[in-house]
Symmetry: C2
Subunit: 187 residues, 2 copies
DNA sequence: CCCTTTCTTGAATGGTGGTCAAGAAGTACA
DNA sequence: TGTACTTCTTGACCACCATTCAAGAAAGGG
């Protein structure tokens, strides 16, 4: 029984599909990118994708997994306590804005597909961990600190929705989070 | 030239379609509700809907227009200065939660359809007006007050995304907005 | 040489939002 | 009363989508 047709070919093509999908998803969005277009970009037949991924949603999850993975790793790499929460959030926003269309899809598609919902949950978990680190000293009770974390994530997500030249997401988050932290410190 | 087949029939059927659409959209979401299903619920042929609405998006806008219209009216009816910003936001959240799936669709679909985008803009405008009322005395400069308004709306939108039994949107908004206001008062 | 596993494909399926031209049903005017 | 014009309604149809299926090609092990 042969291990593989060409040893690494499988993983390589998978990666290639994810590469193309990320590019197309970013440019035109998830919904607007058809499997046919994706296949054409990769250079294979439309149905060939289904050998590598069970569904279009799974392709999206693979793309998001890579994007978010890299993002979280980068953020965690910076010593967030040293640079401060605001700087961390600023970087997070810049990163998220880059993949805004993917974030939109994730948000919306989560209420329709189980795979995506699953990913979103894990994404939230990882983000909470990341924030917990930056908030270690910012609060007293466990419950309060958790609420603070969720609130910050909500602010980030909302700010991205209302992001505009006049009111950039950074300013919105800055204002809201400053208020939140101040409140915590005084309590 | 006859004014109408049966005088009011046209508007009546239009309303009937909106009624059914609202019900179906709420139950199963926008995307999951097919035009065929909507037509069946109303009791007409699928394509008959296209005589009343140019597209499915327009049906959604009609539904949203009514929901949001009623919502904003109710909120504006209460003397928001008397009851206070927090109470207003609390009511706003309760209302929005009811039509959560529609809000989701609005958010996502806005980046795909011009009609929806248009509605979303007008919705934001109206909300800003509503908030401006409640914030009249909360801030000094025009620019600051506007940022405050956008931030509050962002918090509301984000809180709705992260709404859960453990961390209800009300608590998230409460925390974030309290911080925001405090910051403004001190500046 | 065959056999199994790994890929790849052309053709087809069911379902979608949306279109079109023809018909039914009222109303106005002759 | 008849007929023309507008308002609605419909069945048949289209292009497109994600997805499936069965059959074929490529490559290595025996």
């Amino acid at each position: 029984m042969p291990k593989n047709r060409r040893e690494i070919d499988s993983g390589q093509k998978r990666t290639e599909i994810i590469d193309c999908a990320e590019k197309l998803f970013r440019e035109g969005g998830y919904q607007a990118t058809t499997m046919t277009a994706l296949a054409r970009a990769v250079g294979i037949a439309p149905n060939a994708i289904y050998w590598y991924f069970p569904s279009k949603d799974h392709v999206l999850v693979a793309v998001l997994e890579r994007c978010h993975g890299a993002m979280i790793e980068t953020l965690a790499g910076d010593d967030s306590l040293g640079t401060g929460l605001h700087e961390t959030l600023r970087r997070l926003l810049a990163r998220l804005r880059e993949i805004k269309s993917l974030v939109d899809e994730l948000r919306w598609r989560g209420s329709h597909s189980e795979v995506i919902l699953e990913f979103r949950r894990s994404y939230h978990r990882r983000m909470r961990l990341l924030l917990a680190d930056a908030l270690k000293r910012a609060s007293n009770s466990q419950k309060e600190r958790e609420l603070l974390g969720v609130a910050i994530m909500a602010v980030v997500e909302g700010a991205l929705i209302y992001d505009s030249p006049k009111f950039p997401a950074e300013e919105i988050v800055e204002a809201a989070v400053r208020g939140l932290i101040k409140l915590e410190n005084e309590a």
